[in-house]
Symmetry: C2
Subunit: 223 residues, 2 copies
DNA sequence: TATGATACAGTCCAGACTGTATGTAAATGT
DNA sequence: ACATTTACATACAGTCTGGACTGTATCATA
């Protein structure tokens, strides 16, 4: 009769609980902001008790750090999927731009990232963590860029810099999107950057294989 | 013997007090963030009592709204000065880019703006206020752009969009500047955008006059 | 100069948040 | 089967915040 109680192992219970807490934390960051994400509201959102949180994360910073880690890990996976999805497209750049915006920057997850980013301006530990995670993400993106694109003949533009520009542009755009109540601006900006980028880079012809898959970052054991 | 008490008028006292409160608020926003800018800390920073604040601003939101107004007004003036300063330069675009970054985006004031911007994501009143103020600022910038620059012959690029791109780029750059601990990246990005912009616009030749000075926004009487 | 309005100072209070301490159930090891 | 560790729940302590409230000094005006 204990069909509803499948007797989970300790590790399973812990992982599930951590997952619920992290998901609730990221939701809360996106909706209520960093300061608004109080421990009480997070556990309420996760539907667990206060004790569960304090058991897995001794203090708020630890929870936030792990949430940041989870966020960047998730973005890493999304980015990987995006890069794969444009593999067999002819107009790779357009697809990449559109997909990056829609699936990465125009999402609640990016709003959560924004909150962590501004909080990191006053939290050196969080800043260091974000720095390291960004480095790891860029380590995936840059080889993929090399895999798919090459500098246009005649130009000697640094593709890394052009994509860093892209990231800053999308970041700034996302931060102000709720003020510009005209969504056409966003589309225009995406098109504008695409046009500019095409001047300095070409999609490599005949590349139908996905980019090299670097070090796995999917499930490192929790420290 | 009352040499130290020059008998100020009521309006003078009020203005001076409001100024101290607003300055302290913007400092606090830049240093301690939005949530960290508590009323107690602000009045402590301003060196005034709690009662002074509550007299001039009935609640925290009113203070923040006026601080945002002051911030945008100040940026408006700075931007005007920047535009004037590049009037008689030959390499106007480079100077404009550099000055905009140094005097507008790489300042504590922009950090304060960032705090207000993310806070406005959950404060509709603040968002509306920022929206209106940004509109007014752009109303200064756009005529100045027309005054100084023209689309390059052959291209039909929208200069407004290019400068909106510039703003988003600088915003994104400033938000992440504390993570990229390499200041060379910023300079490289500024150069990159300048190069791209030069492809679609030229400085008008022989323009030695400052841009048209639109509606004044220097000291509207306080409501 | 008398009277009211304005500017400012200091204090109090209800609520909220974080961290901690303690108690109970479930899982694990032997 | 039982002891021990792990996972989770509840209660509490201390701090802080924002708003309300009362009191005092300064200014405007008739």
């Amino acid at each position: 009769m204990s069909a509803a109680l499948p007797r989970r192992t300790q590790a399973e219970r812990s992982d599930a609980m951590r997952q619920r807490l992290l998901a609730a934390t990221l939701e809360s960051l996106a909706e209520d902001g960093y300061a608004g994400s109080t421990l009480s509201s997070i556990v309420r959102r996760a539907g667990v008790s206060r004790g569960a949180q304090v058991h897995h994360y001794p203090n708020k910073q630890a929870l936030m750090l792990d949430a940041a880690d989870d966020l960047l890990r998730s973005s890493y996976r999304t980015l990987g999927a995006v890069l794969l999805s444009v593999a067999d497209e002819d107009n790779r750049l357009e697809m990449l731009v559109q997909a990056t915006w829609e699936q990465l920057f125009a999402t609640p997850l990016y709003r959560a990232y924004t909150e962590l980013l501004v909080a990191s301006q006053r939290d050196a530990v969080l800043a260091e963590a974000l720095r390291g995670m960004l480095l790891r993400v860029s380590k995936v993106f840059e080889p993929a860029v090399e895999h798919y694109f090459m500098p246009a003949p005649g130009t000697r533009e640094n593709l890394k810099a052009v994509f860093l520009q892209f990231a800053c542009l999308l970041g700034g755009l996302a931060s102000q999107a709720h003020l510009l109540n005209d969504t056409a601006h966003v589309a225009a900006q995406l098109k504008l950057w695409t046009r500019q980028a095409k001047l300095v880079m070409h999609a490599r012809k005949g590349v139908r294989l996905p980019p090299p898959r670097p070090v796995e970052w999917d499930r490192p054991v929790h420290s």
